[in-house]
């Protein structure tokens, strides 16, 4: 697990998955990241066993008149990782708003 580098994009994708199962397009939509970024991260997360993926039910897909999607969900380990990611993102947020890097609102 520690072999998965927790980059900002990885953290975002983990967050997206934490709120439910998704397929690639949804993740791109939710996170706003590009396909060239998202798929390699997903593949890495899968190899690191932080996420699992599987095809959706073919019957469901043909009923909806579309190709079957590949659905991703977090594993237990993945959930822990997502938790760390959330903390990290929150920390970043705090640093920015608390003005540790200097005030943005110009109150000085």
């Amino acid at each position: 697990m520690h072999s998965i580098r927790l980059t900002h994009t990885t953290a975002l994708i983990l967050q997206a998955l934490a709120s439910g199962r998704r397929h690639g397009f949804q993740i791109m939509d939710v996170t706003g990241l590009a396909s060239g970024t998202v798929y390699p991260v997903l593949r890495r997360l899968e190899k690191g066993q932080a996420v699992l993926s599987e095809w959706e039910d073919s019957a469901d897909a043909s009923a909806a008149g579309r190709r079957r999607r590949r659905i991703y969900r977090l594993t237990g380990a993945g959930q822990l990782l997502a938790e760390r990611a959330r903390e990290r993102l929150a920390e970043t947020q705090r640093v920015l708003t608390d003005g540790a890097l200097g005030s943005v609102s110009g109150s000085d």
Partner: protein, 883 residues
């Protein structure tokens, strides 16, 4: 486009990029991406967004392929490979050195060939420039100069030429009052500057008004002369400089590197021909360069010139030009410049190509041997989970690093050796200053080296299959044995190296013999202990023969008084390389028939009476010149043996009379002198006629340029050089003293090109021998290592050390012998191309063909000796215990 259509297109795109995805995952990702893109379409996203996502998918596929090959991944591989190479310093050093030498030598020589032979000349559209010469087949002159009326008629009548320019080279003294200097100069017709089309850097070229007899003297300076003698003075235009006693105005400076047809001229004045005077047909002294008219090929121009020569005797009043007696030749200017030196350079290129092949064979052998050694390591790594790809990558990296290091070394060597070549080369390799390190060649030779590195570096991974690994591990022992195929391959490489090295050795041997023959040519005079220098007497200070004679006598007397000087003499031409005179001479009572030689003498030589003694030239018959043969006495002449034999065969030349064509008193031959080389050491001697200086001066026929020789008998003839200058300037401070050098240096210059070629070829042969020796040693050494078990057993059961040694030697020499046989055959076939550059030695010279194999056998024996000795040191107990 409908969504369905677009979906199909996207599907095709996804199918295409999925090719990059590793096979196992390909199908899954292809479906997933197609589905996701369809979703995006269905969600109403804009076409731009969809396309950019599709593009991103391609990026993802590429990322999948090169995963693990991230920047850090590669860095780790490289460091690991370097560590591996450093752990085997011997192997690494030999491999890198071998590659470096092969690549470096090839790049250097090919750069020279490219710069000198292949690159077009530095004139705009230089392939449209041709050189015109005349010929006198009856006199044996194939490439002769052209006379002014001939030039004018060709200009006017041959329409294949847009413009025809003419020039004549001479030597000029410039700047009498400041720093008198002697430079090579050329008198050019204004058309020539038009032909060459190189605009001046400063000022302008001269036009037709200035190229008239009697026009105010003007000149163009070369860039180098402008910098050297005038400090690159920007105000040089309009300045008046003394040139050969005439005040000449500078009207332009040419750009750097400009020259008229490799003449080495640094100063250009108008030729000043009188286009109204068509009388001097016999006065051949011009070089002609013409530019082809647009759309005309060299062949078409040649045809037109030949047609012109054909109809000339019938149509032109002078009848001077004719197909049988005096035709014209045309050759492309580039060919004229480099044609002479091309064979030699091509031979060098071939030689250095052989060296590269040998180097590559060596590296291949090295890598193969190393591959063998690492078979166990490969097996272990593979068993521990390294995929085929990883192993491949590791060995690939090693091979590439070796090749790159070799290429780096090679570049440095090439650069250095080009510098060396430029300074050490003989003056007569044309265009050497234009030669630059050729990037293309470097790339090609590096690519060859890298290919070798990759091909043989990957050898260990070729047999990586799980079944083989298991057996490899089971076998145990510290080495695996090489397959018969690999043994054969190594033997093949050694045979090839030996054959190539032998061919080079034979070629070098031929060159060395040829050079030796040239070196032992008798020049006809004794150069040791002589100092020579040249003085030009300008007409302004020395208007007539008497003034010239007075100067010469004064200088001779003054120099003879100098302590240490044992002899002083002067002559018009400096042997052994002189410019051909080919003067028409009238032999009294000579009957000119169809077969008898035409009345033309190759060399006129005006000398002082001490000349023969000072130069050590033998008098064969009669006497030399005496001080009594002065202006008031009977005009006398000397001839050389060749002239006597050609014009007075079977008779005594003494007492016969002759004179230069054109009237004047007859001279009586009073002596026959031994032949002296005039046209170079490798050329046969020409006919020579000697005049006595005081008598020539009395007739106002003394040449203005005099060469002096001073015999000082000491170790170093140049020790008197400062004294010489002092004596000259004591008499006339405005005269530059040029060409001050030991006579032995003059001789050296005459052999400079032969020495250059021989040194290079011998150097390459030596390199090839060294590489072949290293290669043979490596293979033999390795083979012995492979057979240590067998040899140990042999010795354990009682075989003597000497027998084991002999066994190993025999096997090694057998391989070498095959190489020798192939090499001899190859040499026999290939040395034929060296005919044109060999002097006095046939291309099948038996001594060289014998020496080559002997040398290579010695090398092979030496290379096999150490491994053979090592074979006897094998401790049978140790080897057997390793089982």
């Amino acid at each position: 486009m409908t969504d369905a259509r677009l979906s199909k297109v996207l599907g095709a795109w996804v199918a295409a990029v999925s090719v990059l995805v590793p096979a196992a995952e390909r199908h899954r990702w292809r479906e997933e991406w197609h589905a996701d893109l369809d979703d995006m379409l269905a969600s109403g996203a804009g076409l731009g967004a969809v396309l950019s996502t599709a593009l991103g998918v391609a990026g993802a596929a590429m990322a999948f392929r090169f995963e693990g090959m991230t920047m850090d991944g590669w860095m780790k591989e490289v460091l690991h490979a370097m560590r591996g190479l450093l752990r085997r310093p011997g192997f690494t050093v030999v491999a890198v050195l071998t590659l470096g030498l092969g690549i470096g030598a090839n790049t250097a020589i090919f750069s020279v060939v490219n710069g000198v032979v292949l690159e077009p000349l530095r004139y705009p559209d230089s392939e449209r420039l041709v050189m015109l010469t005349s010929a006198f087949p009856g006199l044996g002159f194939d490439e002769f100069w052209i006379s002014p009326p001939e030039y004018m008629e060709i200009s006017e009548q041959v329409r294949a030429f847009e413009t025809v320019g003419a020039y004549n080279t001479y030597q000029a003294s410039i700047g009498a009052d400041e720093q008198p200097e002697r430079v090579d100069a050329a008198a050019v017709s204004w058309q020539l500057l038009d032909v060459l089309r190189v605009p001046p850097l400063l000022g302008r070229a001269f036009g037709p008004e200035e190229d008239q007899p009697g026009a105010p003297p003007v000149m163009l300076l070369s860039h180098e002369l402008w910098e050297r003698a005038f400090g690159a003075d920007r105000e040089i235009l309009g300045r008046s400089i003394d040139v050969n006693g005439t005040a000449t105005t500078v009207i332009g400076v040419m750009p750097e590197g400009f020259d008229v047809n490799e003449s080495g001229s640094e100063l250009w004045v108008p030729l000043g021909l009188d286009w109204g005077n068509r009388g001097n047909f016999g006065s051949h002294y011009l070089y002609l360069v013409a530019r082809l008219a647009p759309g005309i090929t060299v062949e078409a121009a040649t045809n037109e010139v030949n047609a012109f020569v054909q109809r000339y005797p019938d149509e032109m009043p002078s009848g001077h030009i004719s197909p049988e007696n005096h035709p014209l030749n045309l050759v492309q200017l580039q060919e004229e410049v480099v044609g002479d030196v091309r064979p030699a350079l091509m031979i060098l290129l071939g030689a250095v190509g052989f060296v590269l092949l040998i180097a590559c064979a060596n590296v291949a052998n090295l890598l193969l041997a190393r591959a063998q050694d690492r078979h166990k390591e490969v097996a272990v790594r593979a068993a521990m989970g390294a995929g085929h790809g990883r192993l491949l990558r590791q060995f690939l990296t090693e091979g590439i690093i070796l090749s790159l290091m070799g290429a780096l070394l090679g570049t440095a060597l090439a650069y250095g050796s080009l510098e060396l070549l430029r300074t050490a080369s003989p003056g007569d390799v044309p265009r050497l200053s234009e030669v630059d390190l050729d990037g293309t060649v470097l790339l090609v030779t590096t690519a060859i080296a890298i290919a070798t590195g990759i091909f043989f570096g990957l050898a260990p991974t070729r047999h990586v299959a799980t079944s083989q690994l298991a057996s490899a591990l089971r076998e145990g022992g510290t080495r695996s044995t090489s397959s018969a195929g690999q043994r054969r391959l190594r033997s093949l490489l050694v045979i090839t190296e030996t054959a190539l090295a032998l061919i080079l050795a034979v070629g070098a041997g031929l060159m060395i013999r040829s050079f030796g023959a040239l070196n032992s040519v008798e020049p006809g005079f004794e150069p040791a202990g002589l100092l020579t220098f040249q003085i030009y007497l300008p007409p302004s200070s020395y208007p007539d023969g008497q003034a010239q004679l007075a100067f010469q006598e004064r200088l001779t007397e003054s120099l003879q008084a100098e302590p240490g000087v044992s002899g002083v003499a002067a002559m018009s031409g400096l042997p052994p390389v002189r410019r051909l005179n080919a003067n028409d001479t009238e032999f009294e009572g000579y009957v000119q028939t169809q077969d008898s030689p035409p009345q033309n003498v190759d060399y006129y030589q005006t000398i002082t009476h001490d000349y023969l003694q000072t130069m050590g030239i033998e008098i064969v018959d009669g006497r030399g010149f005496e001080p009594t043969d002065d202006g008031g006495a009977v005009p006398v002449a000397l001839v050389n043996e060749t002239l006597a034999q050609r014009f007075y065969p079977g008779e005594n030349a003494i007492g016969k009379r002759l004179r230069p064509s054109g009237g004047g008193p007859f001279l009586e031959i009073v002596g026959v002198v031994a032949d002296v080389k005039q046209g170079g050491l490798e050329q046969p001697v020409g006919t020579e006629l000697y005049f006595h200086y005081p008598q020539a001066a009395a007739l106002d026929g003394a040449p203005r340029t005099m060469n002096f020789v001073v015999a000082s008998g000491g170790e170093d003839p140049t020790a008197v050089a400062p004294a010489v200058r002092r004596h000259v300037w004591d008499i006339d401070g405005t005269l530059p003293v040029s060409g001050l050098q030991a006579m032995t240096d003059v001789m050296g210059d005459a052999m400079a090109r032969a020495r250059f070629l021989t040194t290079l070829l011998a150097g390459f042969a030596g390199l090839a021998l060294l590489l072949a020796a290293v290669g043979t040693y490596g293979v033999m050494s390795y083979a012995v290592g492979q057979r240590s078990r067998e040899l140990g057993i042999r010795m354990a059961i009682g075989a003597e050390a000497s027998r084991v040694q002999a066994l190993v030697l025999r096997e090694g020499l057998r391989v070498a012998a095959v190489g020798l046989v192939i090499g001899i055959a190859g040499a026999w076939v290939l040395t034929g191309i060296m005919e044109s550059i060999l002097f006095d030695i046939g291309a099948r010279d038996p001594l060289s063909f014998a020496a080559g194999p002997v040398l290579l056998t010695l090398v092979a024996v030496a290379a096999c000796w150490i491994p053979a000795r090592r074979a006897t040191r094998v401790d049978p107990v140790t080897v057997l215990r390793e089982e």
